[in-house]
Symmetry: C2
Subunit: 475 residues, 2 copies
């Protein structure tokens, strides 16, 4: 069953090497590896940060709780054009924040307690580093260190925000996605450096809450890894909502009495931007810099990710990796799927499951919302793929009409020879839900024609946008 | 390629029999039968009401435009629990109504003009009645009558609201869905007789606009044709929003100074309900009572629907029927699909396409929203089908959390032997969009397990409700 006594024996003692059947570094998706298959075995769970990982504590979950409140505020502000006279008097930031973290923090705390006191696991609270083959030394948060070995090790250590040198070296106070959601008061003017998904989600939240928002991005477009047509449309809409400065580099920063001053440079010259709070959202990198990968015999990709094979094995025998520390997709649904495969593989060495390779969708919960799966049109061109594309406006369907929508689109790309979808890119309300039938079509090899006409689409539900996009493709 | 001269010749003249290749009775889904296949042929289009039919003029389209404005108002009223302080000062009814009908009415008018003046068709404005085999006499709206014959006739005459005798004979003023959306001013207290989908959609609209709403229903539950668990949950939520009187019969009505007084009877005895406006929403019946079906040799079902075979043929050779006049489903997406099949069949007598029989989904855009496809649990029991069911709460998924949802559900029913879905019933925000992957699974024979795990579901999109419901089924 469990080493219910073992765990106390292991905690807080130093200088002793203990051996486990399984050691897991990180309690995000890694936490789900403690399956019934390990009943009666010894499992070490190592967490140097907050139990539950990025998604629960500083990622998907809290951001979407803020985003939903932002949607409510934005909808109320926009009510007049539907004939509804409404006034938003204000947003109680502290109430929003407390409601969210008073739900989340107890879950993280409960997860930690369960791994410390519960059956079957030994918790190590501290930073883990490989010091040999399947040997880890944990620098305990409350002092001292512990060394442990394990038959198998899973690296599920996640990633962390990148802070550019120019910011870090300037000494100005700044936030990242790790801290911005817990501030005490709404700023008057938030400056966001970075035009990726975190930047534009946070811009949406704070702007909807009445904050003036500036977004500074190096590239010519926001969310520029997306299909260019979508990125261009999004950027145009962003400019109507926020002070957006694309093609702009931050050359210096300094602290001011009230906040921060950024010195910027774009093709027209240099300028200055002042705000009272700074959010750095310039990407995330895997937590491998201080992982002792050389000692552990673990090969990294050039971008710092742990290299894994198709079943999740690293270059070190008995060592696996999953999630943001190794995946090219920093996405919770990918980490979870990889965890399911590896949970199986840990105990079925003769029947290894591949990490999932279905088309990987992603969502950006900004305003507008974006969802994407498969290839962009630029990727189709680069690869020399024959393709057709079609852009369906929400506003040309019944429910889009009802929403008085004039900007939202569903762009589809298909292979005219096979009739199969190559990519789908939606921008507008509920994009992350609307895209699911398209993910399903791509995952199961269903043709555009079959998906459009082989099933009913409820009239006049918003899903008709997708139906009409499929019908618009000339395949 | 059209009889550009023919149409003028046919309009407004009386006492003459004209012959057509095709005659279409009704311009809802029937309007789409004028395909390029009929270029150079003679097509008669007959409309006794408003061009465009129920969906465009008094059904799906305007109701959902009102519903969306209602959602905006309801969301703003409910904003405080998300930390957003908002006040709804009022709803400008006339502005809402005008915005909607100023979009719709020109479309209906343009459609009519196109059929009158445009190429390829001859429009007859008036009520059509069979007076022989493929022979129709049209009582023209502007006086006189015309008789025409056709090689093929399609009956797409739709349906109309049923008004119970007790209401009609009382002489009190009342509205149906045909008229309620065009009233001049919001009432203070709207009484709705009927607890079906029209009743609960209109209850949602008017209640969200600040009107006091009473709903009187004969059955023990509202929307009682649905899965009983969904109907019961819906009825409970309806009682929190509206004055709901189930198990109640209207025994008499009388006009009052300000409106109408209803005498009601339920198992506890009799009572009186007064309101200043009455909406009768007790169902719709096919427009066959005055269609001359005997003269046309057209068999009806006992419920008044035109009987058709699997390819849409009536009992009269050369006469077809589609949509609400013949279908057991009074749904626009069904009528459209039938129209596509019949458009093909009219010109391919040796390659007849069956009317579609995929699982037929339906949506109710009330508060909460409902979507349903396949069998209810009661139908599974009646048919003696082995089945398992699972109810997933929105609130137990990440986005449902963000929405602070405590009442919404996705109920799935599956065959444990095959792993195939038998039915899906959703109640909550965006139900009509969320259900699409389940319709897709049922239409293409995909198993619960495959649909759940053979594709990615974006975390933390609301579609995870569906993913988790699938995973919750013990198949």
């Amino acid at each position: 069953m469990s080493d219910q006594t073992g765990h106390t024996e292991q905690t807080g003692q130093s200088g002793q090497t203990d051996h486990f059947d399984l050691a897991i570094i990180g309690t995000g998706s890694g936490n789900s590896l403690v399956t019934p298959d390990f009943e009666g075995k010894r499992v070490a769970v190592i967490e140097g940060g907050t139990f539950g990982g990025t998604c629960l504590n500083v990622g998907c979950i809290p951001t979407k709780m803020f985003v939903y409140a932002a949607e409510v505020a934005a909808s109320a502000r926009d009510a007049a054009r539907f004939g509804v006279d409404a006034t938003v008097h204000g947003v109680r930031w502290a109430d929003v924040r407390n409601r969210i973290f008073q739900r989340i923090d107890p879950i993280a705390e409960g997860g930690k307690r369960y791994r410390i006191e519960g059956p079957g696991t030994t918790a190590f609270l501290g930073h883990a580093r490989f010091t040999g083959d399947r040997r880890l030394t944990v620098e305990l948060a409350d002092g001292g260190e512990r060394t442990l070995t394990a038959d198998q090790v899973v690296i599920a250590a996640g990633a962390h925000p990148v802070v550019p040198d120019v910011v870090r070296e300037s000494g100005v106070p700044f936030h990242t996605s790790d801290t911005i959601m817990r501030i005490d008061d709404l700023p008057e003017h938030l400056v966001i450096v970075g035009g990726g998904y975190i930047g534009v989600e946070m811009a949406h939240v704070f702007a909807s809450f009445g904050v003036r928002v500036s977004v500074v991005a190096r590239g010519p477009l926001l969310v520029r890894h997306l299909d260019e047509e979508i990125a261009a449309r999004f950027t145009a809409l962003a400019r109507e909502q926020w002070d957006v400065r694309t093609g702009t580099t931050v050359t210096a920063l300094e602290r001011t009495g009230e906040g921060v001053r950024l010195h910027l440079e774009d093709e027209t010259g240099s300028s200055v931007l002042e705000g009272d709070l700074l959010l750095v959202a310039t990407g995330r990198e895997p937590n491998t810099a201080d992982l002792g990968v050389e000692a552990g015999g673990i090969r990294l990709h050039d971008d710092g990710r742990v290299a894994v094979d198709e079943v999740g094995r690293t270059s070190a025998p008995g060592v696996w990796a999953l999630g943001d520390v190794s995946s090219p997709h920093q996405l919770k649904h990918v980490a979870n799927a990889e965890a399911r495969a590896i949970a199986h593989n840990l105990v079925h060495p003769d029947d290894l499951h591949p990490l999932p390779t279905e088309p990987v969708p992603a969502g950006i919960f900004s305003h507008p919302q974006i969802a994407t799966v498969g290839l962009t049109e630029e990727e189709c061109v680069e690869r020399g793929l024959a393709h057709v594309s079609f852009v369906q406006s929400y506003g040309d369907t019944a429910y889009g009409w009802a929403m008085e929508d004039t900007t939202s689109v569903c762009k589809l790309i298909a292979d005219p020879a096979t009739g199969l979808l190559l990519g789908a890119h939606l921008m507008g309300p509920h994009a992350t839900t609307l895209i699911q039938p398209l993910i399903q079509a791509m995952s199961f090899g269903q043709t555009v024609r079959d998906v459009a006409r082989g099933q009913y689409w409820i009239h006049p539900a918003l899903a008709e946008v997708v139906e009409n996009a499929l019908l618009g493709l000339a395949v």
